[in-house]
Subunit: 753 residues, 2 copies
């Protein structure tokens, strides 16, 4: 369906996916699927479906009860802080309500948004989008049926907002600057403001999980639903995983074939076909994400770059394009700082490499050679190292690069995010692949030279032959244990925690409860006199429970999920020839991954704030880098581990380099070829954009002056006769006689000839 | 001046460069510089300056006098052909007039265009440009001061056209399809229509040459003048050569330094700095040509792709974007054909390689080893080979690839041109560099192994040591002789011809003249009764002379000029370390080149048809390829010819590969770094485009409904109170009291704490 341009060219197509993708099959229950407003055709028009009693966001306001300095002073500080927050919300024309948090020293500020405010924000955003070149139907800007504040039932804007759009708009109101009419609240910048979070729509979540656990493949509608509920950023993640999952089938099948047919799995043809797969996959994803961006109407949305509230700059200058004042820093300064961070990052990476190296060497030694006392116990030391030591170290590393990235002075959140992600990726790259590279390129070729020295340290060890098997074991170890550990930490651990924590809390915060419950009652009483959120007591109780539970969860971090996938892609692309079943394992893993991520988001993390995105950001580039590296690894492996290769000859390094040189050029060539082939195949989104653009302009032209575009030369005949130029040309003769004169010349020629 | 965005943001800035760039200093003569209408402020408004008596184009109509088949039949064919042409011109509402050509069997159809027609075409083109996304001032489309057919003196369109724009428009009328109101004339497709040519503006040419021969540097105004006279395509060539000329100063200076300080000119640092130069140059040119495109208002103009009149396709389908019918061919077919041409091109290249190889080996043998009879004469054989044999062979090659390119089925002229140029470039590449590569990578490393065998063929030779010197000699030979030969063939030869030909002609075509002169007179007579082009007899005579002379010239071929420059760039980028003075020579050559090209265009070729272009097309990519190759050459040379390298060790090939591998990665890294650095530096054209786009859209918004873009939240206050959402929130309390309630909670906490 996505392959048909017509199907999606509709005004508001990006607001009404239900038009784009037919409503899913499960849309047979008493209520619309996932309860997303977009599908709520049966809901009465004048009352938009209200979720969570109209509470859109919860601002967690956390303050210290006891501190070093004077209590009253602190209390005053807190009160001031809160009052500031309250005024901000009032100015932004948002409803708000305050509840006692579960823990001591937390207030939960429940925020809601009036339809009118939301509508205004929506219009403003539409205009801005249009100005920035984000595809917007012109009808969207010019309500043809007159008055544009029309909130009547007929207006799509009344019931048209998906939850994602609604929440995204409100989040903009909350965070955008005051002169833009926003509340300008940002966590950690405003005093005591700990975080801003939307509340889960339990109905949707239940349905979501139940649907996905039932069906084999995630289809377009499912993605649309996610997009309508969690926003494009999350939707893109799931779209990517699904796309990747499907593409994995190819290497999985190929791998099984090779595994059972070839003794030497490093056959050149297999390596090359894997290379081709890698390139084609990345190229096709480029196209796919373009398609999605068009279908979801978020193309170019990254052009509206949210300014970092942290970024101050040396001075403010008017923005070149929009003319708004914005902080400015000279280019040289930025270049300098970025240049300087490189070595700093390298330092961090080096530190990490040392750690990984140590753990690896330890493991190697214990597994392969060590035969001394405590062998049994020591055998598990390395795994512990991988599971505990390395993660903590990477933690330190990420803190370090966060500092660096802040120091780099990024104007926009996009660019900050990009640079931060890249630095993080380096760490994950090292942790995941370093030991494999080490085995393949150092340990195996040179291991046998080193072994003898072990005797000198008179370490008792049984001399094993260093061989390819070792590499395979390590890879399997990573893929299998890695994925299991990942699953445990993602799913089982949080489940255990969520089960254990309350009991712990009970004990710890008994006193608080006795108090807070009292105050709660007091609160409820006065909320009965002047009604608080209009709820029955038990509703109130449930809602309070929900609030406490969700504020207790931590925020959803999409990066870890992406990292997991991209690293996995690395194993498949770079190391498949070492163990052809890699892809197969990943297929299995990803099928689970897709569902477990769904569960994770629903149950173990706060609801993510819906954000717009037009692609998966830096991850594509990382995968491209990996594909390039895969040409190196596979090329070198194909030579190094070829049965005929004598690893002890002195030519090995040079021939290896040759192999690499060769395969790199092969890679470059293949990519060029594949890209040019794909480029010849027309892509519908591309056409559609051009077409829409053309249409918009044509409309404009016709509005402004219709006759411009179609001038018929006929209208000019009479003008020509008394045209300024005419006097240079024979007036007497019409074209016929002129032609005759010429023909006379021709005939002369022939006569005289 | 180009670096200041404000300076160029004006309506019509691309039509009135005189606004953009101040009129040149030489604008002190009695008439505006180069007599370009754009500067003709003093000219009376109602009479646009008329050049060549209002003759815009000359269509050369050439027909055979005698042929195998029946004369009358042929005559009829010719007459029909001409009548067809005449009707086409009449329908297109163009003036035309016929003259007897100098040679037998040629008619010169002089074509002129009425202002009104021109104006209509202009409007149509503007609209189309706008629809295709070529930056057009909206004022340009909506003449604010009412009626748009206004040809009054005040209208800029009356005297606003530069010669280039005028001619380009008329050319469009001549060539565009009939249903688009054009004449649909295309040489070689229409019977007997040999070519279409504009006439030189001798005034402009005189001034142009005299100015350039006087001044050292070509500045922006000069380029603007060229652009206004010959169109962007030619202007871009000169802009490029000038830009390249300036950038050459760096390696020239560096080269001289190295030449006089280092004994071993292949020092790694020099090579690397040359690499950096190459990368930076190409990157900066990208930016420069973008700047020019914006300044000249031709950005995106390549989007309007002229359909190949030759391209028919399997069937016609409506164009996806504009909805016009256009020929269509399925993608797979195109891919297949392009894939198939590759080996065919390879074949041609191989053939060429053999020829070049032979000539080279011959030269090598004769220069180095041959001591037999006729040594003196044989010594010059190779040079003759280079000057005569190879050019002819490349001629054959280019015919071959032309066939192939036609077979590839290209929809647009752009794509045809691109693919053809690339294939031609391959040939020039081989001819220019092959022998150098051969010497560097085969002859020098392995030469000494081969020499002994010469004895077996008992060829008498004196054994020379094979060394670096040989490579240098060859390079110098190419650069110096190459450039001299080039100059001779470009300048001296045609001069000689132009001097010699008339005399030859006189003899050959005496008979014709006697006839044609008679008919001419006859023509003049009847043109006096019904006035032909309104000229005095002597004017008429001059004009006839001019016509005969210019029709006698051949068309200007811009590719040869580009090839020359890019190949030269190759010598500098790839081989500077071999002979550091390369760049210096090129600087000298290019200074002359710039001027001699000017002379060539003015004197030795027909006036080129003005075409729009937004960049130098495929040549940029070719240069990038060359820079990549330079990393290979310099890397390998740095190792191969290093004093310490023993060329007889068996490691040589492998170490060479290592060197290449290394330098290639160095290249990739450097390019990434340089690109990212440049990207951080803001570029004004980029900003300007965004800004203009933003402005246009803002205008539209305000036209359509002004209040959209700026909604003040203040207007909403009253709505909020009876907002649908309000009922979920406590109505009784205003925000203050709500805040107080919260503060009570805080205080409780502190009390209880």
């Amino acid at each position: 369906m996505t392959t048909d341009p017509e199907a999606t060219i509709r005004p508001f197509s990006h607001l009404f996916p239900s038009m784009v993708a037919k409503t899913p099959d499960i849309d047979s229950g008493e209520q619309p699927p996932f309860n997303s407003p977009a599908h709520g055709k049966d809901a009465p028009l004048d009352t938009p479906p209200v979720i969570n009693h109209g509470v859109d966001y919860v601002i967690v306001f956390r303050y210290p009860i006891k501190s070093s300095d004077d209590r009253l002073q602190l209390e005053q500080k807190v009160v001031d802080g809160f009052e500031a927050l309250a005024t901000k919300l009032t100015h932004a024309q948002l409803f708000f309500e305050v509840k006692q948090g579960q823990e001591r020293g937390t207030l939960l500020v429940l925020v809601g948004c009036p339809q009118a405010r939301l509508y205004a924000e929506y219009k403003a955003q539409r205009a801005r989008d249009f100005l920035l070149g984000i595809t917007v139907e012109s009808t969207d800007l010019v309500p043809t049926n007159s008055n544009k504040d029309d909130l009547s039932a007929s207006s799509p804007l009344r019931q048209g907002f998906t939850e994602a759009v609604r929440l995204q708009l409100i989040y903009d109101i909350l965070t955008s600057s005051e002169k833009a009419g926003g509340a300008d609240i940002s966590p950690h910048v405003d005093p005591f403001v700990d975080s801003i979070m939307p509340l889960h729509n339990d109905n949707f979540n239940k349905k979501w999980i139940s649907t996905w656990s039932k069906k084999w493949l995630i289809d377009n509608d499912d993605l649309c639903n996610i997009r309508n509920h969690f926003g494009e950023k999350i939707a893109f993640y799931f779209a990517f995983v699904q796309f990747y999952f499907l593409w994995l089938m190819i290497p999985a099948g190929l791998g099984v074939l090779v595994y059972f047919t070839h003794s030497n799995t490093l056959s050149i043809w297999y390596s090359i076909s894997m290379l081709v797969w890698g390139i084609t996959f990345t190229e096709m994803w480029k196209r796919k994400q373009m398609e999605l961006a068009v279908q979801w109407g978020v193309l170019n949305c990254s052009k509206h770059e949210k300014q970092m509230s942290a970024f101050k700059g040396d001075k403010t200058v008017p923005d070149q394009i929009t003319g708004e004042e914005r902080p400015f820093v000279p280019a040289w300064k930025i270049i300098l700082r970025r240049a300087l961070t490189l070595p700093a990052v390298a330092l961090g990476a080096a530190f990490l490499m040392v750690i990984v190296g140590l753990v690896f060497v330890l493991q190697l030694f214990l597994h392969e050679y060590y035969t001394g006392p405590f062998q049994k116990f020591l055998h598990y030391a390395p795994t512990i190292g991988y599971v505990l030591l390395i993660p903590t170290m990477s933690g330190i590393y990420s803190k370090w690069v966060r500092l660096l990235t802040n120091w780099e002075m990024h104007q926009t959140e996009t660019s900050w995010e990009y640079n931060y992600t890249q630095k993080i990726f380096v760490a994950n790259f090292l942790v995941s692949y370093l030991s494999l590279f080490f085995i393949a390129w150092i340990y195996i070729p040179f291991g046998d030279h080193v072994l003898p020295y072990l005797n000198e340290f008179n370490v008792s060890h049984d001399h094993k032959k260093v061989d390819f098997q070792r590499l395979q074991d390590q890879l399997v170890y990573f893929i299998v244990t890695g994925q299991i550990v990942g699953f445990l930490t993602e799913m089982v651990l949080p489940y255990a925690m969520s089960w254990a924590m309350p009991k712990v809390k009970n004990i710890s915060t008994k006193l608080v409860h006795s108090v807070s419950s009292k105050t709660d009652v007091g609160d409820n009483i006065n909320s009965n006199t002047t009604p608080d959120i209009a709820l029955s007591p038990e509703e109130n109780l449930d809602f309070t429970k929900k609030l406490d539970r969700e504020t207790g969860l931590e925020e959803y971090n999409i990066y870890t999920d992406y990292v997991e996938m991209v690293i996995q892609f690395g194993y498949v692309a770079m190391f498949s020839p070492v163990w052809p079943l890699t892809a197969l394992c990943c297929v299995a893993n990803n099928w689970v991954e897709l569902r477990s991520d769904a569960v994770k988001i629903c149950k173990y993390t706060r609801r993510p704030i819906p954000l717009r995105a037009e692609n998966i950001g830096p991850w594509l580039r990382n995968m491209e880098t990996i594909v390039w590296l895969s040409s190196i690894t596979m090329g070198s492996f194909a030579y190094l581990f070829h049965p005929t290769t004598d690893l002890h000859s002195s030519y090995v390094p040079l021939y290896t380099l040759m192999a690499i040189l060769l395969s790199e050029h092969l890679f470059a060539g293949l990519r060029l070829a594949i890209q040019s082939i794909i480029s010849v195949i027309p892509s519908w989104p591309d056409l559609r954009i051009k077409k829409e653009d053309y249409m918009i302009k044509r409309n404009w032209l016709q509005r402004l002056d219709g006759s411009n575009s179609n001038i018929s030369p006929k209208t000019l005949d009479e003008k020509i006769t008394h045209d300024p130029m005419a006097k240079h040309w024979s007036k007497g003769m019409d074209s016929e006689s002129r032609a005759e004169a010429a023909i006379r010349l021709v005939r002369n020629q022939f006569k005289s000839g």
